[in-house]
Amino acid sequence: MSEAPIKIDIQGLQKSFGANHVLRGVDLTVPAGKSLVVIGGSGSGKSVLLKSVLGLVKPDRGSIKVDGRNVARQSAGDKKHIAAQTGMLFQGAALFDSLSVWENVAFRLLYGQRNKRAASKDKAIECLAQVGLAPEVGELRPSELSGGMQKRVSLARAIASDPQILFFDEPTTGLDPIMSDVINNLIVERVKAIGATAISITHDMASARKIADEVAMLYQGVIIWRGSPDELDNSGNPMVDQFVSGRADGPIQMQVRKFTRR
């Protein structure tokens, strides 16, 4: 997969919050039109990684290049360049609760691109249909939806303007298995049909296998492994092995401390 030009190029990315060194030198490249899945333990910095690429988190060190522009410097022009071609699904959905569902989905069309309301609404309803939501849902407020529905609305919002770069932070968390598969198909279709470049974060191995061209594992602030989804089962890396099979014992020791009364 090395023929395609590099779309996103992250080198030596570091980020700390106080004494918490979350990212300690992440190197990651994503070729144009490919789908990368990042796996890793809860709290390992996957969301921070995505937010750094979007310019929402300011990295301490390292470079992040999108189309050759270094966005780690966070100039307004670079941020605009990224935002204009990116769709992001936030882990917590982050829907605008003062707007109706369809206005959420059409937000960029309405206020970023200044399209007509009627046309934007049609497009929004179409995107809602793609994530399995009926047109009536468009008239509701986000607070009237279930968690999984909010996630799907957020996904519809991310894809509504056919962006070239897609970031999905746990797209299938909280969805039933069938709906998860629908969403997986949708992501695959976006990458294949539109040629979008995608980075997804997921804890769902079935989903990872389905949507990934390549999988990377983040552990203790660095990428410790990358490979194709087929290689997940015989990665030769004990940590990947433990993660994929979901065992409590192994080289990765989750920080669970026994409470002892002194």
């Binding site: 929402l56 935002a83 992001m88 609760d97 937000f107 206020y111 691109q113």
Partner: protein
Amino acid sequence: MNPIAAVGRLSLDVFGEVGRMTNFAMEGAFAAVTPPFFWRPFLHALARIGFASLPVVGLTALFTGGALALNIYEGSIFPDANAFIPQILGVSIVRELGPVLAALMVAGRCSSAMAAEIGAMRVTEQIDAMSTLSVNPFRYLVGPRVLATTIAMPLLVLTADIIGVYGGYLVSVHLLDMSASIYINTLADFISSEDVTSGLIKATVFGFLIAVTGCYYGYRSSGGATGVGNATRTAVVAAAVSIFAANYLLTSLFVDF
């Protein structure tokens, strides 16, 4: 910590905060008057801030006008105290009480609401989401609110002036047996257009301050619901204090010239 260092730190904090807020205010003013304009959030804000504040501002003005009439009547040392009522009452309401009281009521309603709303959007990543959708969240959230409040306040204060003076009229004419025509004529003789204009200029400045403090604390909030709660409380206090401070400054300007 040694006390001198503590005082130093405190004053640095205060100056730093004032500096950041001034910066925010200038950016807010710029966003309010330069394109891109966001008409929908603007009209929403105008309706919620301007129109929905009418009852509370009107009632405040009505009772204040009435109370003022009683006070002037009771407190006067002159035998025909009635004649002073419209004169003193009109000027106090139009120049001072109308703008300040209306601004405090609107600050209580709207600075808090803005801080809470924008703060909640900050801590639930809605502001981040907006910027990934190619819309500048500062311009979408702050610009329309600043513009709407700055436009709505003078209109509210004008209404408050009329209702306040009417409150005085009700008490004077129906309780203190003053003749309606004397009340109205004295009022017309003594209230100048400068009085009204100076009150409306104050109102405009107060409206701007209300929106800026509300948006500022909301926009910077962090730390979940607790952080939003803090932002809300601080916003109302800061709005009220800056209204009083600005009122003093503007009054001293208007008195001089």
